[in-house]
Amino acid sequence: MSTAATADASSSGDTTEGSVRLLTLQSEDGEVFEVKETIATQSVTIKGMVDDDCATSTIPVCNVTGRTLAMVIEWWNKHEIGAVSNEKELKEWESQFDTIDDKSDRDDVYDLLMAANYLNIPTLLDCCTSAVAEAIKGKSTDEMREFFDIKSDFDEKEEDALRKENQWAFEN
């Protein structure tokens, strides 16, 4: 997963064109981003604010760091209608989010999931939940525990009982 992102969305395009409004987003850790309204409204939460006329001053994006917000904005830029003409290219770019290989990927996915959930960005949420689901697929429960660093609080008896109740799931 790429951690680099164009944080400054305003440098990427035609912000001088009169009709495009800029929104100011401020991350939890104080970083400020100017983003075109047409792009930021891919977030259902922000769209709601714009529709209710609540997006006139700086919008605080709580619980999302500047680093994550920059990634989110990169996602928005790529998914703006008409930004990437080539569907294949978009899929290729998206594929960097598909796999969770190491620890830093895991942290990014966690941050992005929380941000996508908080800002309500369906495309990003879909992509990240599917990445985690892919990582779970085909793993035994021991492998899952190891991969995600999950500590069991069941004793052996409890776990055996659960396995027995759901026999088919574990045997096939």
Binding site: D29, L113, N117, L125, V132, I150, L162, N166, W168
Partner: protein, 479 residues
């Protein structure tokens, strides 16, 4: 301030368990249900999470037909504990032997309907094909939430005669091996808002001649793929499909038994893709087998003729089909289709007034014969893609140049892109390329993909680059 560092401290281990319930449920809903259920042993955080999943995917992967009971118990247990009131996606793929097992399937489907299922995907394989099939519960027909239905195996149901069924169904995908004709017929008349219909299956030639009447004013996409029964071509089919769908936009037909397709009305189609005709690969395969048996040339010819001969009238069905879809914007024709069109050609090419994108195969037997007719009939064509068939067994007909005063108007006025795919380097191909470059006055891009089997590719490239181009702006690309 080092936020990165702080982040590390806060995050620590096991990020996944700290995700909110609704995200975890989304993740678990993306898994096959058995994998979702398995997470119950991870820790107490996970014990009951799976019961909230809104997609249920039961794939019975027993290697044989024994032990249905374990699978049955599992499904029953999951459905019993399922807390989601709205099931998005219910997928059931299993094998059955006994009637009791079939009736279980019905119960499970009832459950899905009760829980407002949106998408149903059913495949029930029976031990003996044809004698036990999934019976759809009555409640399915009046289900208001059901939008997509995939029936991947044969099925039966008692469709009520009067009322229209499937009030919200937009997509219907049917795959049959032993179609119940009356049932399909009813089904094709019972979906008031259907937009996307896919029919896949085997239609055997028996005595009954079937007419499938697809009359659906709301239909936008229609896909029909008919396969050969166990790979044998048993002659041209007597069956018929009549399509009346005034809002149809996309049509895909794949058919190797030359069913009679009738498309009624003047559809303003967007895209049509036809692969209709006796499968050339099958013919090739047969003729190779005869070669191996060292049958004499004459005898082999006779056998081939007996097995695969298609009369001109029969082949002309494909031309009639083409005539029914002539208002399309995009048209794609495979080598099988081109072969049938050539065989049945009656000097009567329909006009294609809206056609802007044409993709056709130059097949080996008839070669370029129909290309001039297509160009003359497509006055607004902008994109032309020619795929060369690599089968060199027949000698292809030479490209007949148009008289210079009758260069097709589309070449003079509209064609901006030409692509030649799989070029082998034959004289005829070079002749066509030279002609196109000489006469396409507004051409912007000419691409050539030279086949791997072509000899001296470099020479071919040089030769093509040397041809005079009437359009100065034209760029030649080698793919």
């Amino acid at each position: 301030m080092d936020f990165q560092g702080i982040g590390e401290c806060i995050r620590g281990r096991d990020f996944i368990s700290r995700l909110p319930d609704d995200i975890l449920v989304q993740i678990l809903s993306r898994l096959e249900t058995k994998d979702a259920v398995k997470t119950c042993v991870l820790s107490s955080r996970w014990k009951n999470l799976w019961t909230f999943v809104y997609n249920l995917h039961f794939l019975d992967n027993r290697r044989n037909f024994v032990n249905f009971e374990i699978f049955e118990n599992f499904v029953d247990r999951v459905l019993g504990l399922c807390q989601s009131k709205d099931i998005q996606d219910f997928c059931l793929c299993c094998r059955v032997v006994y009637d009791s097992e079939v009736s279980h399937v019905s119960q499970w489907l009832c459950f899905a309907v009760e829980r407002n299922v949106r998408k149903l995907n059913i495949r029930v394989d029976a031990f003996d094909i044809g004698w036990r099939v999934a019976r759809l519960p009555q409640s399915i027909f009046t289900c208001n939430t059901l939008v997509e239905l995939y029936m991947l195996s044969d099925f039966v149901f008692d469709i009520p005669d009067s009322t229209s069924c499937f009030p919200s169904l937009k997509l219907l995908y049917i795959n049959f091996t032993n179609p119940d004709y009356d049932l399909l017929q009813k089904l094709f008349h019972s979906c008031p808002v259907l937009e996307d219909l896919s029919i896949h299956g085997v239609l055997v030639s028996d005595e009954a001649v079937l007419t499938f009447d697809i009359m659906m004013p709301t239909l936008k996409r229609l896909t029909i793929r008919l396969y050969l029964d166990s790979g044998y071509f048993e002659g041209v089919s007597k069956h018929k499909f009549v399509v009346t769908a005034s809002n149809l936009e996309y049509l895909v037909i794949q058919d190797y038994i030359l069913v009679n397709f009738v498309v009624n009305g003047r559809h303003l189609l967007n895209e049509v893709s036809l692969d209709v005709g006796v499968d050339i690969l099958l013919i090739k395969d047969y003729s190779q087998r005869l070669d191996e048996l060292e049958v004499s040339h004459d005898e082999a010819n006779q056998v081939m003729k007996l097995l695969f001969e298609v009369s001109r009238d029969e082949a002309n069905r494909v031309m009639k089909l083409l005539r029914g879809v002539n208002y399309t914007k995009i048209l794609s024709l495979t080598s099988n289709t081109m072969n049938s069109l050539n065989l049945g050609f009656d000097d009567n090419m329909p006009t294609f007034p809206n056609l802007i994108h044409l993709e056709m195969c130059i097949e080996a037997r008839f070669g370029w014969k129909l290309l001039p007719h297509f160009l003359n009939s497509s006055s607004n064509l902008e994109v032309l893609i020619l795929k060369m068939d690599c089968n060199q067994e027949y000698s292809s007909e030479k490209f007949v140049e148009f008289e210079s005063e009758s260069v097709p108007s589309c070449l003079r006025l509209h064609v901006k892109t030409i692509e030649i795919r799989n070029m082998t380097g034959g004289e005829d191909e070079l002749e066509v390329i030279s002609y196109m470059l000489k006469n396409s006055e507004v051409l912007e891009e000419f691409s050539v993909d030279i086949a791997a089997i072509a000899v001296s590719k470099e020479n071919l490239r040089r030769q093509i680059l040397m041809y005079p181009r009437v359009s100065v702006a034209c760029e030649i690309k080698f793919l």
